[in-house]
């Protein structure tokens, strides 16, 4: 059974290295999929809204990592 555990760990590692980052992406995708189709006013902007949320998550995660990294190096 150890091989199965290793395979699962390898596959998981392909998609997730920062749990918070991956969870934020999944949460945003779920929110967009469930909520946006119910708002007709935003129909033309659905794709753009998905993109904007994802880049905000990317930006926030990268900046947070770099701040933490700087603090760790120079406490």
């Amino acid at each position: 059974m150890r091989w199965l555990k290793t395979v699962c760990k390898e596959v998981y590692g392909l998609f997730v290295d920062d749990g918070g980052f991956a969870s934020a992406i999944l949460a945003w995708v779920a929110l967009v999929k469930l909520v946006l189709p119910r708002i007709p006013l935003l129909r033309a902007w659905q794709g753009v809204v998905l993109f904007v949320g994802l880049v905000a998550i990317l930006l926030a995660s990268a900046v947070r990592f770099s701040r933490r990294n700087t603090i760790d190096r120079h406490p």
Binding site: D17, I25, V29, K33, L50, L58, L59
Partner: protein, 256 residues
């Protein structure tokens, strides 16, 4: 009789051309990512990922045939799209942090030494890159599913048109493989870390597009919005690099 044959011939040609052109667009999209992943991570993983996806798609076509039209296309696109999105954004985040100096740049000399050492161990020669495999597999699967649906849809115009549509898709695939063979050498001249950054942008853009497509979201300009997504991710990645760039020691010390 002559009119009947002429009509059948023109239908065959029209179906072939329609399938060829539509499939060509999808094949070029897949080629862009497979070429980039292969250049960065190595060709064995990328090519085995792409060929596994093609084999799986062919098996699907052979086994399921026309019942494929009953498969939930959007659910499939959404599932694979989300995986590609997680994979692509993880890659892009790493590339941004690497470009900003927050994590070490890829050290070519260290890689050379490691590769040399691993080549001396016979067991390691058979190892392949799971990241290259996964990236190439996912994008080929996504674009391939589209091609399968194009072939099925285009051939629905009349009985006997399936071979024409299939040949059109096959011709597009062959053309794109030839294009890939011609392009892979010039790509090798691009610095590796620049290429990694570009792959992150491409994977994230494709992942976002397919996730949206699978979720049934509206994209302005349909497939053309992919170009906008690539440009958007590129700009945001550049801004992220600037924001994350390691500050000089003195300014870091002053702020803490």
């Amino acid at each position: 009789m002559a009119i009947h044959w002429a009509h059948a011939g023109s239908s065959f040609l029209a179906t072939f051309v329609a399938s060829f052109l539509a499939s060509l667009v999808e094949c070029v999209e897949a080629l862009t990512v497979v070429l980039a992943v292969g250049s960065v991570r190595g060709w064995s993983g990328a090519l085995s990922g792409a060929s596994t996806a093609i084999a799986l798609l062919l098996a699907m076509v052979v086994v399921l045939g026309r019942t494929l039209t009953h498969l939930p296309l959007h659910a499939l696109q959404f599932f694979v799209g989300v995986l590609l999105l997680l994979f692509g954004l993880r890659w892009l985040r790493k590339a941004v942090l690497r470009a900003a100096g927050q994590i070490p740049l890829h050290d070519e000399q260290a890689v050379f030494t490691r590769s040399k050492a691993s080549l001396q161990r016979p067991d390691d020669r058979r190892r392949w890159d799971r990241i290259a495999f996964a990236g190439a597999f996912q994008i080929t699967m996504l674009e391939g599913i589209e091609i399968v649906f194009i072939v099925v849809a285009v051939s629905a115009g009349g009985p006997g048109l399936l071979p024409a549509a299939g040949l059109g898709a096959l011709a597009a695939l062959v053309l794109v493989i030839l294009l890939g063979l011609a392009l892979h050498r010039p790509l090798a001249a691009v610095p590796e870390n620049t290429l990694k950054f570009a792959v992150g942008v491409l994977l994230s853009a494709f992942g976002t597009f397919w996730t949206g497509e699978g979720a049934g979201l509206y994209w302005p300009g349909a497939d053309w919005s992919l170009a906008g997504l690539v440009a958007g991710y590129f700009m945001v990645a550049l801004v992220s690099v600037a924001l994350c760039r390691k500050r000089p020691l003195s300014s870091a010390m002053e702020s803490h």
